[in-house]
């Protein structure tokens, strides 16, 4: 069981055309010298994570990040430079920032944290994989604290590619954000617990339904129910079949919370879903998060509140 102690989200606050864009905070407490070099996704990720690192009872034993598009904006800047100036004598800054693990390594430098550090980049399941990774770590050392985050920015280059591929029909809004969590293997002082996470790659509705059925049978304790179905539906009608099938396994009185209305669509939107679920649940409720990315990657997260 992975316990959540604190959670921070930097999430969109305004809609510009059909994109939900983050209005960035002032990033108090983060050295200007480091901020200047960072692209937006790294800034957001650091902005969400740094406060948690500061308030952790002890230095975290691991920093684990999930990002689907992390690094792409900087990669594209570097490509633009290559086109403009040829391949000789280019400034290395954006290249150095373009590795997906730039954010995780900046955090380790800022915090002088020499422990486990990993960046998962498996697109729409990057956050679920980071969550799984941290869950395994927490079993190895129950007293340790870990920083877990899911971060993606809405860069023009990523938006262009996804839009051309047809992932933004008129009803779907693109988004971005950074959600970070201070987690551990111990229940004391925790506010919620992730009971389980599952992932699959499929376009078969029946396979998804069966997987969720097994997931709930295995991880939802006997006699308990799902209070809220935190649902990743994003307006794309092609995905309705999956969401309907999974909603069909809920109770009649399970409420439905379509989180992408608040954060938009991006690969690690499920990190925002976890933040939102953590924020909203009260008492010993069970919230089930179900997210789909680009019709093929599916993730389930079961979150339970810890009554205070």
């Amino acid at each position: 069981m992975l316990y959540i102690h604190q959670a921070v989200a930097i999430s969109p606050q305004e809609i510009i055309s059909n994109k939900l864009e983050v209005r960035e905070p002032s990033y108090e407490g983060i050295p200007r010298n480091l901020l200047r070099r960072m692209g937006k996704s790294v800034r957001m990720g650091i902005g969400a994570s740094a406060p948690l690192l500061r308030s952790s009872p002890r230095p975290v034993s691991g920093i684990v990040i999930g990002t689907g598009n992390g690094g792409t904006a900087d990669s594209y800047s570097f490509l633009e430079q290559m086109k403009e100036y040829g391949e000789s004598l280019l400034t290395p800054g954006s290249f150095a920032q373009s590795t997906s693990n730039a954010m995780a390594s900046q955090l380790s430098m800022m915090d002088q944290n020499k422990n486990y550090n990993l960046t998962h980049v498996h697109r729409g399941l990057a956050f679920e994989m980071a969550l799984l990774d941290v869950s395994l770590l927490s079993l190895e050392d129950v007293s340790a604290f870990y920083l877990l985050a899911g971060v993606d920015e809405l860069s023009p280059s990523n938006y262009a590619l996804d839009e051309m591929e047809g992932w933004y029909p008129p009803e779907t809004i693109a988004g971005e954000g950074a959600s970070a969590f201070l987690v551990s293997g111990q229940a004391q002082d925790a506010t919620a617990a992730v009971r389980a996470v599952a992932t699959l790659h499929t376009t078969d509705v029946e396979v998804v339904r069966e997987r969720l059925r097994k997931f709930l049978a295995t991880h939802l304790p006997e006699g308990e129910r799902i209070s809220c179905f935190v649902c990743g539906e994003n307006g794309d009608a092609r995905l309705n079949g999956y969401y309907k099938a999974c909603e069909g396994l809920m109770d009649r009185d399970t409420s439905v919370l379509p989180f992408k209305r608040l954060c938009g669509e991006y690969p690690t939107a499920s990190a925002f879903a976890l933040w939102l679920a953590h924020h909203k649940l009260s008492g010993a409720q069970n919230y089930l998060i179900y997210n789909i990315y680009k019709g093929r990657q599916h993730g389930f997260i079961l979150l339970t509140g810890i009554p205070r």
């Binding site: 200007r32 010298n33 200047r36 070099r37 100036y85 004598l89 280019l90 400034t91 290395p92 800054g93 150095a96």
Partner: protein, 87 residues
């Protein structure tokens, strides 16, 4: 262009190249060290400044270690530019 103008221009360019968004040219003293205690730049910044010298002034420094001797502060950088610029 006289030396004062060059130094002013150089400060603007350094700020732009290194994205020192919290600084204005007036905030950078002519003799404020780039590395260590002054502006606190690092080795990636020195590579970026070498590119600045090339793109803006046509000066090529092949070895980054040579670069560190020139890239001490605005004063030394401006003097070097005056002697070696081709643009």
């Amino acid at each position: 262009m006289d030396n004062t103008e060059l130094k002013q221009q150089l400060k603007e360019q350094v700020i732009q190249f290194l994205n020192l968004t919290s600084l204005k040219p007036a905030d950078i003293a002519d003799n404020e060290p780039f590395f260590g205690e002054g502006l606190g730049l690092d080795s990636i910044d020195s590579l970026e400044l070498i590119v600045l010298l090339n793109r803006m002034y046509g000066i090529t420094i092949k070895d980054p270690k040579e670069g560190r001797k020139v890239l001490v502060d605005i004063e030394t950088m401006a003097d070097y530019i005056e002697k070696h610029r081709t643009k």
